[in-house]
Amino acid sequence: MTVTPTEKAGRLTGRTTRRRAAEAVIRTLIYTAGLLSIVILLAIAVFLFVEARKSIAEVGLGTMLSGTQWFPTGTPRIFGFLPLIIGSLMVTGVALVVFVPVGIGAAVFISEFSAGWFKEVMKSVIEFMAAVPSVVYGFLGVAVLIPWVKATFGLTSGMTALTGGLVLGVMSLPTVISISEDALHAVPDALRQGSLALGNTRWQTIYKVVVPSASSGIFAGVMLGLGRAIGETMAVLMLTGNAAVIPTNVFESVRTMTGTIAAEMGEVVFGGLHYSVLFSVGLVLFGITFTINLAADLVLERQRKRWRR
């Protein structure tokens, strides 16, 4: 069995063409899939704008953004976004009051005061809360919270900004807790021990050292919770009563941007002005959540870099 050098050399350069071609095809497919997310995100922005163009041309973006009245089917039709934007902000504000203290407090307890098995249990609890569909939260709100709010505050209707905000607050908790807990968990133990060795108590260590070190991650968690609350549709649609009037307090009924789109898109003429205006609302919503998410992501990225060193 003699192998000549040329045969051997042949083994190094043969059979490669087909294999290289196959590999190139696969690589192309994978790169395409990899870049798809950029394409989709861009396409969302582009198509929202394309469909909103008619309303921007006919009503004007400034007029819509500064308009204080929303009468999409009245005569004349008035498309002022302020009632919707303020409605969204008020509901989100209530949610914020719920999820910031409760979320951060719970994250601190889970990360700093509890044993391993309890962390696992809480992980399942939080996964469950995140998995419950928003329409179910809305339904529970309708069945349980609306009557409660009505009775407790002596209102004529339990469909208020407060009701929607409370449910949104609970819905945002999983996001806030899991991201804050991750941030607290990422703080190196050496820092904790250094602080304890200086004679600080556990709590002093937490609020002087651990929480400040994790602050950017906690901030990102709050931002993402905020983004989730502003973008949430079904629960607010079912709970806030959807009165398109600029609210003066949380016990009034409000109509949010998301609720407006969901409630009215079923009744518009496709391609018509009202249809286009709803895409303008979507564009505003997209702009707000995009900014919030971008900020949160940049903060998270910075934090990741910090602990890697």
Binding site: M1, T2, V3, T4, P5, K8, A9, R11, L12, T13, G14, R15, T16, R19, R20
Partner: protein
């Protein structure tokens, strides 16, 4: 002593440090193949040159050991021989590496083909998370072997060569993770042998193993060198002295300059009567 055309060619062109004859493994009727010639080889990570000016021959059917203090680039040099450095981004290899006279860095060479001829065993046993059989069959299947009987034969031969057959022949379907560390490493050797390579690169193959497993691996290496050329990186000088025919000593004298080859020669001679003071210091334990 047999020398391939490639060796002669390089010897004539480059001022090699290899001067004395190297004992070649048991005489074989086959034409010798699986010999490397390295000519002025350098390696750079980005802008930093980490190895420079390596000239040496790796004779066929013999064990060549690369020794030197940690961080001297032994493993990096080893990975030049099957172009595994290509897989780390930003690595440039300069000079010429020829396998049986063929420049393995020339454009027409696909590293995938090269690696079928030049196998590698890693520091830590890294069997795939699948059965013993499938582990060893991975290489042949990659090369397109599909017939069951053919695969069975290759797998038995490879496991026998790696001295693992008797221990696993009745549980080839068992998950590879159920083997002990030493068995896993011999499985990895069998897996590399199943592709029928001419050269086997071993990167500190026993560093993660206990003394008994280490002994078994060394015995396996002694058995194998009649079949394949072996290049082994080791930090253990006794091991180098025990198992190798030729030894190359590498050193990076300061972090500002690249590592280089201090001395290469027949193992017995290098360990008893080194040419270079630095080699002597190292093997007598004065540094490293």
């Amino acid at each position: 002593m047999v020398m391939s055309a490639a060796l002669e060619e390089v010897t004539m062109e480059a001022p090699l440090r290899l001067v004395e004859p190297v004992r070649i493994g048991a005489a074989s009727a086959e034409k010798v193949s699986g010999s490397f010639a390295l000519k002025d080889v350098s390696v750079a990570y980005g802008n930093e040159t980490v190895i420079a000016g390596v000239n040496m021959l790796v004779p066929s059917r013999a064990v060549t050991a690369l020794i030197g203090p940690s961080g001297c680039g032994k493993s990096t040099l080893l990975r030049c021989l099957n172009r595994m450095n290509d897989e780390i981004g930003n690595v440039r290899v300069g000079g010429a590496v020829t396998l049986d006279g063929l420049d393995i860095y020339q454009k027409s060479v696909d590293p995938v083909d090269l690696r079928m001829r030049v196998g590698q065993v890693f520091q830590r046993p890294n069997p795939f998370p699948m059965s013993i059989y499938d582990n060893v069959a991975f290489g042949p299947r990659t090369q397109g072997v599909r017939k069951r009987e053919e695969l069975d034969a290759i797998i038995e031969a490879a496991l026998r060569d790696a001295a693992l057959w008797d221990e696993v022949k009745n549980h080839l379907k068992k998950h590879a993770f159920e083997l002990s560390g030493g068995q896993q490493q011999r499985l990895c050797i069998a897996r590399a042998l199943a592709t029928k390579p001419e050269v086997l690169l071993m990167d500190e193959p026993a560093s993660a193993l206990d003394p008994i497993s280490t002994q078994q691996i060394e015995d396996t290496i002694a058995e194998l060198k009649d079949m394949v050329t072996i290049v082994i990186v080791t930090h253990n000088m006794q091991q180098a002295a025990r198992i190798s025919d030729q030894t190359a000593f590498m050193l990076r004298e300061s972090m500002d300059q690249p590592a280089h080859l201090v001395e290469v020669g027949e193992t017995k001679r290098l360990f008893t009567n080194p040419d270079d003071k630095r080699t002597e210091s190292y093997i007598t334990g004065r540094f490293g």
